[in-house]
């Protein structure tokens, strides 16, 4: 296996997460190597978002361990902000800052967190905007953009931090169908460039095309991990079979 010699970006071991008495993650272990693209699928409520959000500690885990980019998220020595600036996250609801222009959305963390100069941040932002095809929107406010455009800005905003890994939590689920493609195209381009990615999505076409591995979750557990070819043609687990038959 080629991945064995690559650097490990995310190492989740026996992760357990409770919401009250409800077990949202049940002994989840997952390894993501540098450059790898994994797609996480599973029924609603199966813990996909919780798992993704525990990778940058937006959710606190109650058991197991999480090591990201070589840093143990729960070691007292770890500076959480250092981890997070290396881990980009794209949300279903975009979460752009509505009081800031597109350009300011992309430069803010660069100047505040990365301490880049205004000029440098601006240049970087404009470069990324052209990459996501929104050069003409630099001075617009997010409220003026379509959902697809907002999500592309959100991706650019994350990329501006030069992340080592990008997490996507159903990035196209809030979009009108005609805008899904433009966002997926940006993500595919990122994948081609070698970005390490973990994507929660219901876009099976994307999974087939981009994923190195598909991770299937059910009831808070990873029940199957497989290359897409294998997973989509002959899923082993009965729950996976059932899930695929429902959505394909």
């Amino acid at each position: 296996m080629k991945s064995a010699e690559r650097r490990v970006m995310v190492q989740a071991r026996d992760v357990v997460k409770f919401y009250g008495r409800f077990k949202a993650l049940d002994q989840v272990s997952l390894t993501i190597h540098e450059g790898e693209k994994i797609v996480i699928i599973g029924p609603s409520g199966s813990g996909k978002s919780t798992l993704l959000r525990s990778i940058n500690r937006l959710e606190e885990i109650d058991g197991g361990s999480m090591v990201v980019n070589g840093m143990d998220l729960y070691s007292p020595k770890t500076d959480l902000t250092r981890v997070r600036e290396e881990v980009g996250m794209v949300f279903q609801a975009f979460n752009l800052f509505p009081h800031k222009t597109v350009l300011e959305n992309i430069t803010l963390a660069q100047t505040v967190v990365r301490r880049r100069s205004r000029e440098e941040a601006r240049e970087k932002a404009l470069g990324l905007l052209s990459k996501v095809g929104l050069s003409d929107k630099a001075n617009a406010y997010p409220g003026r953009l379509s959902g697809g455009q907002q999500q592309r800005v959100a991706i650019a905003r994350s990329l501006a931090m030069d992340p080592k890994i990008m997490l996507f939590d159903e990035p196209t689920s809030a979009l009108d169908p005609e805008m899904i493609g433009e966002v997926l195209d940006v993500m595919k381009e990122l994948a081609r460039e070698g970005m390490t990615m973990a994507v929660v999505t219901h876009e099976m076409g994307f999974a087939r095309e981009v994923a190195d591995r598909v991770v299937f979750m059910d009831h808070g557990a990873v029940v199957e991990e497989e290359v897409p070819e294998q997973f989509f043609t002959s899923p082993k687990h009965p729950r996976a079979r059932q899930f695929l038959s429902q959505i394909l």
Binding site: L58, R84, V112, S158, M161
Partner: protein, 262 residues
């Protein structure tokens, strides 16, 4: 030249394009009626019966200045207290949170007038500061608690995803507050803060029971010397009305401006 059929005006329902933007026309006339009426009444009284009305009007402006000083000083200080309290109320730090909550509970449970007496005399016991400052601090302590709740509600009205997005970009909680949450919250709290300002302006008349010569106090002084109680309080009431109406309009315009931005 071809005859062009006049294109029918398309009525777009939903985005408000065809709906007049000013929906508060009635309110506007009520405001104008009250404002112009109050000024007119004051002018008419001064003109028709200079003694005592013109005399009273000449006597009280010093008090208006003091009322403004108390109001502006107290609101600025109350904003600071309120912001700290609001942040405390949402803080995960037990001590800070408990302290802020205690402050709000205590202040809410005591009548404003009692608080003003209490803080004024308590301050006077320990420090020697001018009466005006004591009065300002007393008002600010009271209003800071209410302002704290305004800020808390304002901050909590910002969707959770905003904080999460900021954190996931590597910002600290403090940076996220300063750059992302508070700027949005300030816009949300502007109308209630405006209301607090008007309320404080009116409540500042309570400091007249202290040795602070605000508008009401000046009126009382004049009335008790001249025994023209009814005339004096008529003037005082009209002046308060004019000032309050003026500021509520100003605040309304400011809010509109801010909403029009972007």
């Amino acid at each position: 030249m071809t005859f062009k059929e006049p294109t029918k005006q398309k009525v777009d329902v939903g985005d408000g394009a065809a709906i007049p933007t000013k929906s508060d026309r009635g309110l506007f006339t009520a405001w104008r009626f009250a404002f112009v009426g109050a000024i007119g009444a004051l002018a008419y009284l001064a003109w028709s019966k200079p003694d005592p009305y013109l005399e009273i009007i000449r006597f009280v402006p010093d008090g208006i200045a003091v009322t403004f000083k108390v109001t502006v000083g107290a609101i600025l200080l109350a904003l600071v207290f309120g912001l700290i309290t609001g942040l405390g109320r949402i803080s995960s730090n037990r001590f800070f949170n408990g302290l802020a909550s205690l402050y709000v509970e205590v202040i809410r449970g005591i009548p404003l007038l009692v608080q003003i007496f209490y803080i004024y005399y308590a301050l006077g016991r320990f420090v020697k500061i001018p009466d005006l400052f004591s009065a300002i601090i007393a008002m600010a302590v009271c209003y800071g608690a209410y302002m704290g709740e305004v800020f808390r509600a304002g901050i909590q009205s910002i969707p959770k995803g905003q904080m999460e997005a900021a954190l996931s970009l590597g910002m600290t909680r403090e940076q996220a507050m300063g750059h992302v949450i508070l700027p949005q919250a300030f816009k949300v709290v502007l109308p209630p803060v405006g209301n607090e300002f008007i309320a404080l302006l009116k409540d500042s008349s309570l400091v007249s029971i202290l040795a602070v010569a605000d508008l009401l106090r000046r009126g009382r002084e004049y009335a008790s010397e001249s025994f023209t109680y009814f005339e004096t309080y008529t003037v005082i009431a009209l002046i308060y009305l004019i000032i309050t109406l003026f500021f509520s309009k100003l605040i309304g315009i400011m809010e509109e401006r801010i909403n029009e931005e972007r």
